[in-house]
């Protein structure tokens, strides 16, 4: 048997080369494991999750205080208040018992006919109220009880807005902030990880094992999965918080826009990750990574500032919701506002996916051309050339 044949036989014992997906997945799993073992990553994620949890807890404490005020009803007031579900009514046998209930803090106020009220508070003026009832507070007027008993006038709006402007501001800020923070954090992580492989020269060993596209795909997939998981946890906690604290109305209104946000985030982040990886591949040292990733960082920051300053500007939001870099923030806000037709998110999503595909193509070209060029920063034109 010739030596060449021997080496062929030996080769048969070796496993077949893994396919694109299997190799990319190996790279992705390594990325994820490295992140999960990093103390900095675990701590920052824990802080974000704790912040989301705190929002839920504070929300539920606030809503727990919002239970209906209690009143002690005396005499004819008992009949007047019967059937009110905005008040917790305790029937008191006489004014003395009612006063005791109030002083003990069992109730927030006493509701009594004007005549009986004078027995408790001599200064109370009988006949001053058209309904003949007096509300007695302990150390101040019982506003919430008065409000519950008041008769509101008819309310109409000339040009109705679907959402409360304050709420819109917070929702827009929420989407903007979550996108901005996650995209920036994981964008920087992927950039650091690319330049680390280049700086430590492990990239040459990697590229002798797997094609450059496989390596890039694995890195983008791994980090996107982490970012996506973080987003799902945060939005999940926020929605859970709204549901648990009984703000079901808001939950129902926010639900669709949050779902769109998650879908848009997924593609938007993959696009940014490919660009961050390509930008990072152009430098050879971790210290220099900022010089090439700044333009990509801008792409992340601009939609955040736009949504903070222009969340009430229909035109700016409409443009934002179609520009792929800002669509992950702009479109969910418009869905929340109810100004987007049902097909608009779909069109915008198609645009985003097309741009993401383009970003991956351009990104992998830059990445492949620049990855083995050590030393000085690779010029963009050289990195794009064949």
């Amino acid at each position: 048997m010739s030596r060449a044949e021997q080496s062929r036989v030996a080769a048969d014992a070796r496993p077949a080369a893994p396919g694109f997906a299997a190799s990319a997945w190996l790279v992705a799993v390594r990325e994820i494991m490295v992140r999960l073992r990093s103390v900095a990553f675990v701590v920052s994620t824990a802080i974000i999750v704790l912040a989301a949890l705190a929002a839920v807890v504070i929300g539920s404490v606030v809503s727990a205080n919002a239970e209906p005020p209690g009143v002690a009803a005396v005499g004819e007031a008992q009949e007047a208040l019967a059937g009110t579900d905005e008040l917790r009514v305790v029937d008191a046998a006489d004014t003395a018992e009612a006063e005791q209930l109030l002083r003990d803090g069992e109730v927030d106020a006493i509701v009594a006919p004007d005549a009986l009220a004078a027995e408790i508070v001599p200064e109370a003026e009988p006949g001053a109220s058209p309904i003949g009832l007096t509300v007695i507070g302990l150390d101040g007027p019982a506003g919430s009880v008065v409000q519950a008993l008041s008769v509101p006038p008819n309310v109409a709006v000339l040009d109705p807005s679907d959402q409360d402007p304050g709420l819109v501001y917070f929702v827009a800020l929420g989407f903007g902030l979550v996108f901005f923070m996650s995209a920036l954090t994981f964008g920087q992580i992927i950039a650091q990880s690319v330049v680390e492989e280049k700086q430590t020269r492990v990239v040459e060993v990697l590229l002798s094992a797997i094609p450059v596209r496989t390596l890039l795909t694995g890195k983008v997939v791994g980090n996107s999965l982490l970012a996506f998981a973080q987003i799902v946890v945060i939005t999940g906690l926020a929605l859970l918080g709204l549901a648990v604290t009984g703000q079901r109305v808001l939950f129902g209104e926010l639900g669709p826009s949050v779902l769109w946000f998650i879908v848009f985030f997924l593609f938007g982040f993959v696009m940014l990750a490919a660009l961050f990886a390509a930008a990072a591949a152009m430098v050879s040292r971790a210290e220099d990574v900022g010089t090439t990733t700044t333009p990509v960082t801008m792409l992340v920051m601009i939609p955040y500032f736009l949504v903070v300053f222009f969340n009430s500007n229909e035109t700016v939001l409409a443009v934002m919701s179609y520009v792929p870099f800002s669509a992950p923030v702009g479109m969910p806000v418009r869905v929340f506002l109810g100004t987007a037709e049902w097909w608009e998110p779909l069109v915008s999503l198609v645009l985003l996916i097309a741009t993401t595909a383009l970003a991956i193509l351009v990104g992998s070209r830059i990445y492949g051309n620049a990855l083995l060029r050590m030393g000085a920063r690779v010029k963009l034109r050289e990195a794009l050339g064949s």
Binding site: R3, A4, Q6, S7, A10, A11, A13, R14, P15, A16, A17, P18, S23, L26, V27, R30, V34, E196, E197, T200, R201, V202, V203, E204, V205, L206, L207, S208, A209, I210, P211, L372, M374
Partner: protein
């Protein structure tokens, strides 16, 4: 048989490789020798597909190399590199798996190599905590952990202590004995000389000499001899065709113009007194190298 055929590569204006051709035979250790910037690393990167040649081809058993073929190469780049914060064993298993090995087999390969390279005690340490020599061993393990069919190693011996050099030598000769073509570059010409079956000398991007080590030695054999007599050797200067380089009493170092002159010198030496030794100076790889590179 790994064959490089008319490879050319330039970086901008500079021609790094100029029509480079040579072969690396299976089961043979081939030493790749050249000065700094001579083109060794460029040639090796092209073989591995990490770099593309402007012209020329690299073939294995007569077929062009595909990504699948290259998966079966073991490569140690000139610029060492592994993940500094990853544990040694974990890292080796990762590289074996990238080459398609199942987790259990990858682990077995890695452990076996770590043991052969006397690195098993450090297997769960992060790479960055290892000494440079041990990092170098880990790098060699990373090149071999997937049981490559062809080995291409750029300076595998640099930075190793003598014991480590020996264990790495053993690992490489075993690979060659198993039928793998092994190509490695080195500045340590003594190691290359001792270890290699074949030699490739590159200078300024061109192949200056290539062939079996013994044949190269033969074709560059020395015409310099050393003579040690019990009596004075001053008569040597009068022998026609002899050029004395140095002499001291009974000892002399001289060049001869032909084999016949050498025989004449020996005869006269025997007549003049007792011959202690008469030897041809060994041609070292360093001498051959200087000669062909000049």
């Amino acid at each position: 048989m790994l064959q490089l055929d008319h490879l050319s590569k330039s970086y901008g204006e500079r021609l790094a490789l100029d029509d480079v051709s040579f072969t690396v035979a299976p089961g043979r250790m081939t030493g790749f020798v050249g000065g700094n910037g001579a083109g060794k690393t460029t040639a090796m990167r092209i073989v591995l597909g990490v770099l593309e040649a402007d012209r020329g081809t690299v073939t294995l058993e007569g077929r062009g190399l595909t990504q699948t073929d290259r998966q079966r190469f073991g490569y140690m780049p000139e610029e060492r590199g592994l993940y500094p914060k990853m544990r040694v064993l974990e890292q080796l298993v990762y590289f074996a798996r990238l080459h398609g090995w199942a987790p259990a087999a990858a682990r077995r390969n890695a452990l076996e190599l770590l043991e052969r390279l006397s690195l098993e005690e450090r297997r769960d340490d992060k790479l960055e905590t290892l000494s440079l020599g041990n990092q170098q061993r880990a790098q060699i393990a990373a090149a071999l952990v997937h049981r490559p069919e062809v080995l291409v190693l750029d300076e595998p011996f640099s930075g190793l202590d003598p014991i480590a050099v020996e264990s790495v030598q053993q690992v490489l000769t075993d690979a060659a004995a198993a039928g793998a073509p092994v190509l490695f570059s080195s500045h340590q010409l003594d190691i290359v000389e001792r270890l290699c079956d074949d030699l490739v000398i590159i200078a300024g991007g061109r192949i200056a000499a290539a062939g079996a080590r013994d044949e190269l030695r033969e074709s560059h054999r020395s015409s310099r001899y050393e003579l040690l007599l019990t009596a004075d050797a001053g008569w040597l200067r009068e022998v026609p065709g002899v050029e004395v380089v140095d002499s001291d009493g009974g000892w002399a170092l001289f060049d001869v113009d032909a084999d016949a002159t050498r025989q004449a010198v020996l005869r006269r030496a025997v007549e003049h007194g007792e011959v202690v030794s008469f030897t041809r100076e060994q041609t070292t790889l360093a001498q051959i190298f200087r000669e062909v590179v000049r």
